[in-house]
Amino acid sequence: MHMADALISPVVGGTMWVATAGVAAYSIKKIQKDLDEKKIPLMGVVAAFVFAAQMINFTIPGTGSSGHIGGGLLLAILLGPYAGFLAMASILTIQALFFADGGLLALGCNIFNLGFFTCFIAYPLIYKPIIARGYNLKRIVAASLFAAIAGLQLGAFSVVLQTLFSGKTELPFGTFVLLMQPIHLAIGLVEGLIIAAVVSFIWKERPEILEKAALGKKLGSLSIQRVLTVLALAAVLTGGVLSWFASANPDGLEWSVFKTAGVEELESSGGIYQTLSGIQNKIALLPDYDFKASGDEGAAAAGEGDEASWPVVSGGTSLSGLVGSVLTLAVAVLIGFAVKFFKGKKPNFTS
């Protein structure tokens, strides 16, 4: 469910960064209030554990396939929502930097989708109320299942909205939602069962771990409402300001935000792509109102801009575009060789 940089617009990326930074700042403030220094290494080491544990495949009984843990909910259960959110944020940051998983611009989206909904919605509003009357196997299973499913459903829906607002999806909203939600229902079910198994084991062996996480952080004053209000305001404000900026400066950096379109992000498993392409093929037979419209829009957008881009190319400009592109590539390669040449020479001069 990681969004990629290539599939996102600057306004959506920026807005989600602000929202995520807001939640992170709030979490840090909360942790600092009852600062328990011990918690810092604990957060780091447990986050590293979740990172590593994500690579374990769990066989799903009765099917040939396997699933793995997502992390956000488990972190909230083990560390509490605030520390859990920060731990999830650092996992996603490292994945973006080292493993090309998601991207730096899309990091705000990813932290929000995978961290916020699990730690600040699913955990306090679903998991905790069910568990509140005391731990037993039934409650653990119910709480983990519902919380995992809800967290993933919200996250998946958020992915749909973010791609929609990025203007990059060629899929109609309804189709995209119908694709994303059922897939994540299945994923959430598996994750919920794994978490239930893990939590019930820890509850038997070392119940104090779970109690500490749950008791240490009081969500009693319903501060969550404040977070949500502040967040919503911040998102609307920055979104509004940024897009106003975009339209106010059409010939500056010319953020062609709402005109751009690439494609949507989805799970990378083969089955989904097959379904997706199947549905798309069906859609392609219908009068392609949407696609034509978006294409025309692209052409119009390009026409407005200073640069003549592909949709309005005439034979002449396309030739010069090709020649120039080949030249640019050649120069890029040449720069590489030139640097190597000079670098190679340097030691000879000095030694």
């Binding site: 198994a197 771990i209 751009t260 294409g295 640069e307 592909w310 575009g321």
Partner: protein, 268 residues
């Protein structure tokens, strides 16, 4: 199993690369971080039909790779995880887009243009992030984050996570190996041991965190994050940032390949 080994290898490779001492490595980490962010925003802001205009942005990774003396092949391999997603989605564009264009008598779907554009954007954005970490390293990047006033609690936490990922990866791979030797031919962990297997690891992780904290206390940890030497911004650093920003802006406003192309074809 293989993905765990690959992950460990990735981390160590990027760590090693970050330890080099070249012109790029010596730059102030904050400058490198800001340059990368500006680069990403500019690249992503391009229209979906843009291909030629994106090409000048290849200069940035090409120059950095060479100046920083980074090996090309391992870095390209690091990009592969991002490729299937973007390729898989992008390849559907030609199916979707029913507009056509003609090049030399050949009629093609406009979808191919958007496909190439998305691939190019993916290449550029992924490279930018990898180059940032390969020339800066996690510790310096953390120092840059502190300069940007990111709270030390988060930065410290990020560094600890990073430090312990390799430790826990080794632990997980040991568990995984032990399990697969006792239960051969299985695709994953059987549901009966889901709880105990991960649960045991969590218990050990909590004990480890306790030991880490005690060790930190014995070495004088007071909740402060000390980076050692603090680099200072030099004129050269600022020139680097300003130079690239200027280039990115120009390349965003003017379609450089098309301009040079029309100049050339006009002359011929």
């Amino acid at each position: 199993m293989s993905n765990m080994i690959n992950t460990m290898f990735d981390l160590r490779l990027l760590d090693d690369l970050a330890c080099k001492d070249t012109v790029v490595h010596r730059l102030h980490p904050l400058v490198k971080l800001l340059t990368t962010v500006i680069y990403l925003i500019v690249v992503v802001s391009f229209d979906k039909y843009e291909v030629a205009g994106l090409l000048p942005f290849l200069f940035f990774p090409v120059l950095i790779i060479n100046l920083a003396e980074l090996p090309l092949v391992p870095l390209v391999k690091r990009m592969l995880p991002a490729a299937p997603l973007v390729l898989g989605i992008g390849i559907l564009n030609p199916v979707f887009d029913h507009q056509v264009f003609a090049v030399g008598g050949l009629t093609l779907s406009m979808g191919w243009i958007t496909f190439i554009s998305v691939c190019l954007k993916c290449l550029l954005t992924v490279f930018a992030a990898l180059l940032l970490i390969a020339t800066t390293g996690m510790n310096n990047l953390a120092a840059a984050l502190r300069m940007l006033r990111i709270p030390k609690l988060f930065v410290l936490q990020l560094l600890l996570t990073y430090r312990y990922i390799s430790v826990l990866l080794e632990e997980v791979s040991l568990i995984w190996r032990a399990y697969s030797l006792r239960a051969p031919g299985q695709k994953g962990i059987n549901w009966k041991v889901w709880g105990p297997l991960i649960g045991q690891l969590i218990l050990r992780t909590f004990d480890r965190a306790q030991r880490v904290y005690q060790a930190m206390c014995l070495r004088g940890f007071t909740g402060e994050y000390n980076t050692g030497s603090q680099k200072r911004l030099t004129l050269w650093d600022l020139a680097y940032l300003a130079g690239w920003s200027l280039f990115f802006t120009l390349a965003r406003i003017y379609n450089i390949p098309e301009l040079t192309g029309s100049l050339l074809t006009g002359v011929i």
